[in-house]
């Protein structure tokens, strides 16, 4: 039996068990590119407008964020620049997710053991995963080319840009295949992969901001240096393909030599005692929520700093292109405040995402059986819930305060107007009552109908829809009013409505009280 035996079987197994995920990835990626391309094509429909874009985005901060695009004075160049930030994360993530899900995760769950006890050889699972990933990436590349050609990007530029995106995903697929051989858990593959994406982004950002060779050290730099709309360096595509292929070969080689379930990097020993802080209910709640707290804070900070730092450029772009002003929600008489108010809504939505995810953690603790163990001791239900609610709320206030401050500082320094700082922080804090309503909603669902917790996420999606598209779609007033965020008053463009804030806070408190009362008299685990 060769180590690659049963490759066809393994590939079929992976396709059959994961085809939904693959389809979603392809649709999401091609959809975001299509959305960006269509928006750019409609906004920049004359050579003059295209020139204003090139002028507006020339600058260190934007180079660092979106990349230094060669040939930015063309439609394809603008699409590449606009899609740059998303592409920098989505395509590596595609490579990581495709591989991690069908290699180490399957091995960890013990399903691989069952398959390998049959005819497939040791090397066939990772090889099959790589083939499946390569096929998916190829589909993404072809579909992306079609999308670009459809908005009148020249064929050679379209093919080259789509291929550069695909090659970027190939690098991270190869890297993940190798990581899957050396780490013990799928989690390790994701962590290693994300760290590599971040490092690649920072290197490319630093290199592009300074205009130095450092960009060449990053896979994102290779993607950019292909220069699809100017220069068209086809040979650069070889770099990511060779690196990704080399990593893949190394992974297949390792898979044939190691024991099933083993890993080169086995986790080190941890502490054998819990700290005093961890033993207390609040300290423990903080530990349970730490990833969510830090993750959402980091996400919101990046959003705030980027959007704040771009304030000046956006204003310049708006002055040159009224259609763009409309697109960023700043079409009114006061485009500056319009833009800032729109960013405040984004920041509030991230904060809402944080509270819903955090209350969802309570549901997860219960569904995975840990709440029962936790409540089997002297810790009462209300103390347990209070500790978690305290951590969630402090996390929310910290998130909103720090993010608003960062947004204020970034925007004030970008526009050279220190007066912005105070009003932006105040505007950010004004959204707290609306965010608290979601905390109350999440808690009430957890306490009363835990199985329906998904409704909280549906609520987030509805509010995001209303906030982003509501004004553009000219939805009826009562629909807009369904979103708690609508009632805040859209600061700093509009004035904060103190009475609404009081009502929102009261609603949040009511939901919280219902949650505490309901949780005290329901079964754990809920049936």
């Amino acid at each position: 039996m060769s180590a690659l035996g049963g490759l066809g079987t393994m590939t079929r197994v992976q396709l059959r068990t994961r085809w939904r995920g693959l389809v979603i990835w392809v649709l999401a990626l091609v959809g975001s590119l299509a959305g960006t391309a269509a928006a750019v094509a409609s906004l920049y429909d004359t050579p003059a407008k295209i020139r204003t874009y090139a002028d507006a985005v020339a600058g260190g901060a934007l180079y660092a964020i979106n990349g230094r695009v060669e040939g930015i004075d063309s439609l394809g160049g603008i699409i590449q620049d606009e899609f740059g930030f998303m592409a920098a994360f989505l395509l590596p993530l595609l490579g990581i997710a495709l591989i991690a899900g069908s290699t180490r995760r399957e091995e960890e769950a013990g399903r691989l053991e069952l398959l390998l006890s049959g005819t497939p050889g040791r090397r066939s699972p990772v090889t099959a995963a790589l083939l499946t990933a390569a096929g998916t990436i190829l589909v993404v590349t072809i579909a992306s080319t079609a999308v670009l050609v459809a908005v009148s990007v020249p064929l050679s530029a379209a093919v080259l840009y789509a291929a550069s995106l695909g090659a970027l995903a190939v690098v991270f697929a190869g890297l993940s295949a190798l990581l899957a051989q050396v780490t013990l858990h799928a989690r390790g593959v994701y962590i290693g992969g994300f760290a590599a994406v971040l490092a690649a982004y920072v290197l490319r950002g630093a290199g592009d901001a300074a205009g130095s060779w450092v960009s060449w050290l990053s896979p994102l730099g290779w993607q950019e240096k292909v220069a699809p709309t100017a220069g068209q360096r086809w040979w650069v595509l070889l770099v990511p393909l060779l690196v990704g292929g080399g990593l893949a070969v190394a992974a297949v080689h390792l898979a044939g030599r190691r024991d099933l379930g083993s890993a080169l990097l086995s986790p080190g020993a941890g502490p054998d005692r819990a700290s005093a802080r961890l033993r207390g209910p609040v300290g423990f709640a903080a530990w349970v929520h730490r990833q969510s707290l830090l993750g959402w804070l980091a996400g919101n900070l990046v959003l705030a700093v980027v959007m704040g730092a771009l304030a000046k450029q956006v204003l310049d772009a708006i002055t040159g292109n009224p259609a763009m002003a409309q697109a960023v929600g700043a079409g009114g008489a006061n485009p500056v405040d319009g833009y800032l108010a729109m960013v405040q809504v984004y920041i509030a939505l991230v904060a809402v995402g944080y509270v819903v995810q955090s209350t969802g953690i309570l549901r997860r603790e219960e569904a995975e059986g840990r709440l029962e163990a936790r409540l089997a001791g002297t810790l009462s239900r209300s103390r347990w819930l209070s500790a978690h609610v305290a951590v969630i709320l402090v996390g929310l206030v910290v998130n909103v305060a720090v993010t608003s401050l960062a947004f204020g500082v970034a925007a004030a320094s970008s526009m050279g107007d220190s007066g912005q700082l105070g009003r932006l922080v105040a505007a950010g804090l004004a959204y707290l009552p609306a965010e608290l309503v979601f905390a109350g909603l999440g808690l009430a669902l957890f306490a009363l109908v835990p199985r329906a917790f998904g409704a909280a996420w549906a609520g987030v999606a509805a509010v995001a829809f209303i906030a982003f598209l509501g004004p553009g779609l000219k939805l009826a007033g009562w629909v807009l009013d369904l979103a708690p965020t609508t009632h805040v008053g859209n600061p700093p463009l509009g004035a904060v409505e103190p009475r609404s804030l009081v009502v929102l806070t009261a609603v949040a408190l009511l939901l919280g009280a219902v949650a505490f009362a309901g949780f005290r008299c329901r079964a754990v685990p809920a049936r």
């Binding site: 020993a269 941890g270 819990a274 207390g280 059986g369 029962e372 163990a373 089997a376 001791g377 008299c521």
Partner: protein, 328 residues
């Protein structure tokens, strides 16, 4: 001892999940200082009973008391005096075993540090390993050490040894035995009959949310049959027709008579007298095991629609006993 207030007492406990009555008038009493075996097939309501006793679920009817208190109203107070090992132990993947132990300890009445160290040693547990790297057996050990290291007066163990190897099973039985010697009361829900037989003073067998049998093992055995396998020189006279004898099968084998039958424990003396007269070659007498008891209680469950028929035909009702004998 029987006059002391029970540690656990339920009366006519009812718990329904929608149309399903998980507990249907369950009575249970666990006396101070005893190890009480809690047996029943899957879905009989064992875990539901335990969750009611822990105040995690509220009964729909009947009453439940732990240490004379209502576990639903006074959950935290009751929990201070007991320790619980769930059947399916869920730990926090990012914490080490030692951290999980301290976390459980922090919400218990009190933990003996010396005993914690001793138990980690006896159960051969590595407390520096992350929970996500533990096997099922090791996760189970964490919960066992956490519960057994407490100064709890009552241990509630829900199938505590699933996933443990025989060596650890042995260690578990020793520790429970020691804790019983110190006066700790134990409610032991289990599928491992050998474990219950080795540890339990009294057992309750439940099915479909009701108790079908309870008492000491000796009590329960009194109602089951002893199986006898004997080889004699001559056919035992009149044994086949003797009162209390069932399932009598005799055959000629190499000039000897090979006889198998089951008999009520109280009639054994008379039967052995008859065997002696027939000149015993070899004799094997097996007292009723818990398996037999258990299978019989479940067997009645399976044969419920034909219960009257089974009652009329003793051979049918005792079938599991014979089946077990042929396996051994």
């Amino acid at each position: 001892m029987t006059t002391e207030a029970p540690v656990i007492r339920t009366e006519a406990l009812v718990k329904a999940f929608g149309p399903v009555r998980a507990l249907d008038g369950l009575d249970l009493d666990v006396r101070p200082g005893e190890v009480h075996g809690f047996l029943g097939p899957n879905g009989a309501g064992k875990s539901t009973t335990i969750r009611v006793l822990l105040g995690l679920m509220r009964a729909d009817g009947g009453s439940a008391e732990v240490f004379g208190q209502d576990p639903w109203r006074d959950a935290a107070a009751v929990h201070g005096r007991l320790a619980y090992v769930p059947g399916d132990v869920a730990l926090w993947p990012g914490l080490t075993g030692g951290q999980c132990l301290d976390l459980f300890a922090a919400t218990h009445g009190g933990v003996d540090e010396g005993r914690r160290a001793e138990l980690i040693d006896r159960f051969d547990l590595d407390p520096t390993k992350r929970a996500r790297d533990y096997s099922k057996g090791n996760r189970q050990k964490v919960a066992l050490v956490a519960a057994l290291a407490t100064a709890a007066e009552l241990l509630v163990l829900d199938e505590p040894t699933s996933g443990l190897d025989p060596l650890m099973e042995q260690a578990f039985q020793e520790v429970v035995h020691e804790r019983r010697g110190e006066g700790v009361t134990v409610l032991l829900s289990s599928h491992i009959l050998g474990e219950v037989e080795a540890l339990a003073d009294r057992v309750s067998i439940i099915r479909k949310g009701r108790r079908v049998q309870t008492g000491t093992l000796a009590d329960l055995r009194r109602h089951t049959l002893t199986s006898v396998h004997v080889v004699t020189q001559e056919p035992p006279a009149g044994l086949a027709e003797a009162p209390g004898v069932t399932g009598y099968v005799a055959e000629q084998l190499d000039g000897h008579v090979d006889t198998r039958f089951t008999i009520e424990p109280g009639r054994l003396d008379d039967a052995v007298g008859r065997l002696h007269a027939a000149r015993i070659h070899t004799l094997t007498v097996q007292p009723p095991s818990l398996d037999a008891l258990f299978l019989r209680s479940y067997g009645e469950d399976a044969a419920e629609p034909a219960e009257s028929a089974a009652g009329a035909d003793p051979a049918t009702a005792r079938k599991p006993v014979d089946a077990r004998r042929s396996v051994r």
